[in-house]
Amino acid sequence: MGGANIPLEEHRIVKKPYYLAQGSEVEIACAAYRSGLPLLLKGPTGCGKTRFMQYLAWKLDRPLITVSCHDDLSTSDLVGRYLIRAGEAVWMDGPLTLAVRAGAICYLDEVVEARKDTTVVIHPLADDRRELPIEKRGELLIAPPEFMLAVSYNPGYQSVLKDLKPSTRQRFVALSFNYPELEQEVDIVCQEGGLERDVALSLVKLAIMTRNLKDSGLPEGASTRLLIQAGKLIGDGVDIQTACRVAVVEPLSDDPEMLAAVEDMVGSLF
């Protein structure tokens, strides 16, 4: 068993992550966990999907194995493969197999980025069978009750080509995430960015303005994550205008007109 020697403890989250619930998502996720149902998280980038998973893993006291999906991700990358070691073929568990064996939470981030044929491998795990066939070894792994599968994707910017297949979709309990309400987002930016409340409020207002531009050429507005990053810079002594420029304005776009307009918003707010 080649894979078993990866220390799972590294994946355990010891310190309670900061997470402010937007609704009843924590209760729903816990209920899904108890019933052995997989989770589908959808929402724009930087709105707290990954943080939610960390929080959930901490709350359930399970290790969290995260796989960032990309379009070259193959089935072997998830399930495992044979490697040659000292002239011998040695089996190496992939992250998914590892999570199933250890009863951990496996989180496939941005799952639509993976090829459709790769995504199919999670099908038997994501329904009531809860099993993972490892063809190359002729093994059928049955997931323990502690195992949980979660996937996330961003319905906002991906093209129609990169949509989830209905057969994949219809296996999950889906939680929709969005940017938090104004007050909540201010709380989050205060807490995470370590800011005064009024500065945090202005930052959130700026983010809302950029989110209004969705139909005017900006694919996605400033995320909560960007605001927190700007907050950290401000906390470190960078002046507000500069911090907003480097942490909020510039990451959003390369279009000079758009940049000038967002910079105008910064100038108008602070």
Binding site: A261, V262, D264
Partner: protein, 768 residues
């Protein structure tokens, strides 16, 4: 320079026109004294101006010797560019005026921080849309005002000497206009009326309010001033940075304030204005003997005021001023502050009426759809009662009431509660979507006219509801016209919004063309399909990789053997599955000029049929448009197939309906195709033009001008990451195609009859 040389050069430049000798002599005479350099520079401008307007060009030549005393020679060409822009925007007079006024109009201005709206429009629009969170529009206007959907701005600003300050002023104007809209300054409902009645016919309540005063104009200006103060307060909270930047700006000069003959009312208002600007409004109002105003100000700084408070304050001011009315001049209005702009209730009303009609139409449509989906008995019952209503004498409109489901009334869930509507005592449960629409309409316009429901019931009864929105008529326009710039090589600049492109539907034509073509090329189609099938996404295994899905046994055996033999063994031991996906989007532009009549057109159509058959096998995304038109105001693109449209009978019929039309203005067609392709996310984006000759139009779009514009459009396409390619059957193609597309990006098909066979082949080579 001597006269004959000048004369000869001039005639050469304006050819093929032949102006009168004596006129030319008069024009050129002053140039005999000028240096060679000056003459050459001035003459360089003639080809840019002459074809656009001969009289402008003559004027230009007359005025230049004087102008050059002020204008440095190096700025001549940019000055000419602006003259031509004026000409195209406002006509000959404006251009001539601008030309004569070189000193104050061009020279002084160019170093005075002038900001043109056209240059910053995109930035400002994005700014205000983000700030306001709604789709406001910006347009140049002769005055600053808003109709609540569009904000009209001065076409240029040169108030301050720094351009950054002028841009700030633009932003300030926008912010104030937005504040009026957001505060509901123009749409204040009657404070006394219970149910605000706003209908397509009725006017805004403010009109009635102002008219109730002996001096409506004064009441209006007072109200607007108070609302401006309120807007400023609102902006201090919403956009503190902007307001701080404004406070740092040098003070505005108030025009008209020095006028001694103004009426006492105007004096009061301009005093208030200047106090507002220099921030001493507070003291002014504290010593004010009108308690209403004192109170207004106190509350403005405290819990805030609303439009009703402004109305009350206006009443008080007008009452106080009533005593002065007998003496002094009649109040004739004052100049509003620049960022304040004008209050134009008629424009607001017009927009309001349009919105009412538009949204009403949408609402009737969805209601009709909803009603048509009801059980048959219920619908019939509704129709019966509707008929009775019409025949009966009682009332013309249906009785309509909106009812919240009583369980939810008064609870927090009220806004989401399901909605019931009773039509003539018949209860109808609305679907969530329709209910949301009804609710929005009700919120905005205050009530739901009964006739909407009557007509919805009527439409549902006719069974026409699903088609209530008429489809585009045959040959009609499919979408609003789009403007594109055109490149003028003579002036090395764009003619702004020069060409109007309309997307049109081809006339409906049923023909056996496709069937004939398919049977004619039966064998070829099968072969093409096979060929193109081979090009489809191919998965293949790459052996001897460092990393992969499986162990490459051959490599492993070799490596082990090497190891035993004491040779260095390879670490490339894996097999990897490689998948090369075709990610191609292609637009075909088909020349539909009248020169394609006859067998040329047929060959083009046949090639399109074969091409589409092959492409369907391949699965590449493709769109087909035909182009033709006459003059810049009527560049037409004919829709044959869009990207997302499936290939089916309608597309085939449209290919069959391709027929020769008018001229070949290529630039706008290429620019439109570029914009279409730029929206796709394909890795390879191709623009294939199929043509039989040079670009040419009825007007001056011919020769070098047409070639240069087309070339520039192609350059723009390349800059957008698109590969343009051209298939031509013009025998003279080599003369200009190299210049247009570059030597390898076009192909000349010698024999038109071979085009249908060659085209899929060309495509195959291009994309593999």
């Amino acid at each position: 320079m001597n006269f004959p040389a000048l004369n000869k050069q001039f005639y050469h430049l304006v050819a093929p026109d032949i102006p009168n000798d004596w006129e030319v002599e008069e024009l050129l005479e002053p140039y005999l004294d000028q240096s060679d350099e000056v003459c050459q520079e001035v003459f360089k401008c003639i080809p840019a101006i002459w074809p656009i307007s001969t009289s402008l060009c003559c004027d230009f030549l007359r005025i230049i010797p004087e102008t050059l005393k002020i204008l440095p020679l190096s700025q001549l060409s940019s000055w000419v560019g602006e003259i031509l822009d004026r000409y195209e925007l406002d006509g000959l007079r404006a251009a001539q005026r601008f030309m004569r006024d070189v000193e104050s109009g061009y020279m002084n201005r160019s170093n005075a921080g002038l900001v043109l709206l056209g240059e910053v429009e995109g930035r400002l629009l994005t700014f205000i849309r983000g700030v306001a969170g709604r789709d406001l529009l910006i347009a140049p206007g002769n005055a600053v005002f808003t109709d609540t959907e569009t904000i009209f701005l001065p076409p240029e600003l040169a108030v301050f000497s720094a351009s950054a300050d002028n841009i700030l002023l633009y932003k300030l104007i926008l912010a104030f206009q937005w504040a009026y809209i957001a505060n509901g300054t123009f749409t204040l409902p009657d404070p006394i009326a219970q149910e605000p009645m706003v209908d397509s016919e009725s006017s805004l309540w403010l009109n009635t309010f102002f008219a109730s005063f002996p001096q409506p104009l004064f009441a209006r200006d007072c109200y607007f001033f108070l609302e401006t103060v309120r807007a400023a307060r609102f902006l201090e909270q919403a956009l503190p940075g902007l307001m701080r930047a404004w406070a740092k700006l040098p003070c505005f000069i108030l025009p008209g304030a020095e006028d001694k003959n103004i009426s006492p009312q105007a004096a009061v208002l301009s005093d208030l204005q200047s106090r507002f600007l220099n921030g001493s409004l507070l003291e002014a109002w504290q010593e004010e003997h009108l308690p209403v105003l004192r109170d207004y100000w106190r509350r403005l700084l405290g819990e805030g005021v609303n439009g009703k408070d402004s109305v009350e304050a206006v009443k008080a001011i007008c009452a106080a001023q009533a005593s002065h009315e007998a003496e002094g001049e009649e109040y004739e209005g004052i100049t509003p502050l620049l960022f304040q702009g004008e209050i134009r209730l008629s424009a607001v009303e017009a927009v309001h009426r349009q919105r009412f009609l538009r949204q009403g139409e949408e609402l009737v449509h969805s209601l009709a759809l909803h009603l048509a989906s009801l059980p048959k008995e219920q619908l019939e019952q509704l129709l019966r009662s509707e008929e009775e209503k019409e025949n009966g004498a009682t009332g013309l409109e249906s009785d309509v009431t909106m009812i919240m489901d009583s369980e939810f009334a008064g609870t927090a869930a009220e806004p989401q509660a399901p909605l019931l509507i009773t039509i003539n005592n018949e209860e109808v449960q609305l679907s969530e979507e329709v209910a949301e629409q009804v609710r929005q309409f009700h919120d905005e316009f205050g009530h739901l006219p009964g006739r909407f429901l009557s007509s919805a019931v009527g439409r549902a009864g006719e069974g026409l509801a699903p088609d209530a929105h008429p489809g585009p008529e045959q040959g009609g326009e499919l979408q609003a016209p789009i403007c594109y710039d055109e490149w003028d090589h003579r002036r090395k600049g764009f003619r702004k919004n020069w060409c109007v492109v309309t997307i049109k539907e081809l006339p409906d034509l049923r023909s056996g063309f496709i069937r004939q073509t398919l049977s004619k090329y039966h064998g070829v189609v099968n072969r093409l399909r096979h060929q193109f099938e081979m090009m489809r996404t191919s998965d293949r295994f790459a052996r001897r990789q460092r990393d992969g899905d499986d162990i490459d046994l051959d490599a492993l055996v070799e490596s082990l053997a090497d190891g035993r033999a004491g040779l260095p063994s390879s670490d490339r031991l894996f097999i990897k599955l490689l998948r090369d996906e075709r990610d191609i989007a292609v637009v075909f532009l088909i020349d539909m000029s009248n020169s394609t009549a006859g067998w040329v057109g047929n060959a083009i159509k046949e090639s399109l049929v074969l091409m589409t058959e092959a492409l369907e096998v391949l699965g590449d995304r493709y769109a087909i448009y035909g182009f033709s038109g006459m003059r810049r105001t009527r560049c037409e693109l004919f829709h044959i197939k869009e990207f997302d449209e499936p290939y089916g009978e309608p597309v085939r019929e449209r290919i069959g309906a391709i027929s020769p039309m008018e001229y070949t203005r290529m630039g706008p067609a290429i620019r439109h195709a570029t914009s279409l392709l730029a929206k796709t996310d394909a890795r390879v984006r191709l623009l294939i033009t199929l043509t039989d000759g040079k670009p040419e139009d009825y007007d001056d779009y011919k020769g070098e001008y047409a070639i240069e514009d087309t070339r520039h459009a192609l350059l723009e396409a390349k800059m957008a990451g698109i590969h343009p390619f051209c298939i031509t059957i013009d025998h003279q193609a080599h003369d200009y195609m190299d210049h247009l597309y570059g030597p390898v990006n076009y192909i000349f098909v010698n024999d038109v009859r071979k085009l249908p066979l060659r085209m899929p082949e060309i495509y195959r080579v291009l994309t593999s």
